[in-house]
Subunit: 202 residues, 2 copies
DNA sequence: CCCCTTTGCTTGACAGTGTCAAGCTGATAA
DNA sequence: TTATCAGCTTGACACTGTCAAGCAAAGGGG
């Protein structure tokens, strides 16, 4: 699998002051640029301006580096969801919808990162740091669902599955270009979320 | 990345009669067993009982082999959706729901295959055979949506995004273990699909 | 001041990968 | 019988993740 050699424009010349941060930054860049897991440890090292084995000093394995990147991404997503929810007013469904809107916006803005965040089986061993960050993220959604009435007889678990299903599926389809929309994706997302008002209102 | 060496029990001893079919079969086995793209050309070749470069004679590149496997999987999924739709009676929403149920069942039965099928960006170049098979599959869903009334003012495109979003998101969340369900996943899927009846009935 | 340990990174190696370039083998055609 | 040729193998290349060893500099104790 020969390397195409793009994205090597901004190679660092001298060793960076914070190697760990430089590696995380390089990995994020590579993930967002390359769409899939072709992001190699050696490419990260080159981009960060260190030797090919330097990453081993900070991350025991490739999966650990990726996990660290994903954990940070989860925290960003959690922040965005909380901010949108708190800006959405008092109505429980509006707050759930705001949370979902932020989720979709994040997913569409960072498709490659998003894909990896929500396919944990791909990092063979579950990573503690990442699992915690993911848990905090899920909790925000769970709280928003729990705060709504669910007259359809849905349990909180099923309601959460339903709400999450909606946003997760939409991001996956749109960011992979599987569905052709005739309007701004966020507008369609808004419509789809609004369709759930009846299921989440008293 | 050293190989763990499992799944080598059923190595073929002599060269198979139909090498191409043997390779497709080996690739399918490896994908379903390994959950991610660690399925290597060389591992397929070993499993099929041929040399490491034999695949090149049938598939110009690794992506082409994977594409062929996924195209076949798409055809299987399409078949299952059509069968379930035709067994669901006359009501348009029931037929849509049957289609969705078959979709979810397939996704939960073949999680790794499913993941790859619906993440086409991961195979850098779009493959014709696979795109056609995927198109036929999407068409079945599209027809089912088009046959329903959509009083909410949804266009067919938005309705299709909504219906597909539901099943795609559910499969992604459940098969990755991201959501904890207190019942059989297909039962929850049934509930979630049923919630959409109001949006797809006259 | 010198030595000694530790930290942080580098160099080198190994087995694995995808892909390309040859070479071999057996069947079919002339 | 010989020529051709498809179908597969062997060998090589650059790349990968990971491990082992080594080097350079900083810091501390005598």
């Amino acid at each position: 699998m020969p390397n195409n050699g793009s994205l090597t424009a901004n190679l660092r010349k001298s060793r960076p002051s914070d190697v760990r941060a430089a590696l995380l930054d390089a990995a994020t860049q590579l993930i967002e640029a390359q769409t899939d897991d072709k992001v190699s440890l050696r490419a990260c090292a080159r981009l960060a301006g260190v030797s090919h084995a330097a990453p081993a000093h900070y991350f025991p394995t490739r999966a650990a580096l990726i996990s660290a990147v994903l954990a940070h991404a989860f925290d960003k997503l959690t922040e965005a969801m909380i901010a949108a929810r708190d800006a959405a007013g008092d109505d429980p469904f509006d707050r759930l919808k705001g949370t979902g809107r932020a989720y979709v916006a994040f997913g569409l803005a960072h498709p490659a990162l998003y894909t990896m965040m929500f396919r944990p089986t791909y990092l063979q061993v579950p990573d503690g740091e990442m699992a915690e960050a993911g848990g905090r993220c899920g909790a925000v959604l769970g709280e928003a669902v729990a705060a709504t009435p669910r007259p359809g007889g849905l349990t909180v678990a099923a309601g959460m599955a339903m709400a999450w299903t909606t946003v997760h599926g939409f991001v996956g389809l749109v960011s992979n270009g599987l569905v052709l929309l005739d309007e701004d994706p966020m507008t369609t997302a808004e419509r789809i979320l609004e369709q759930q008002r009846t299921a989440f209102s008293g």
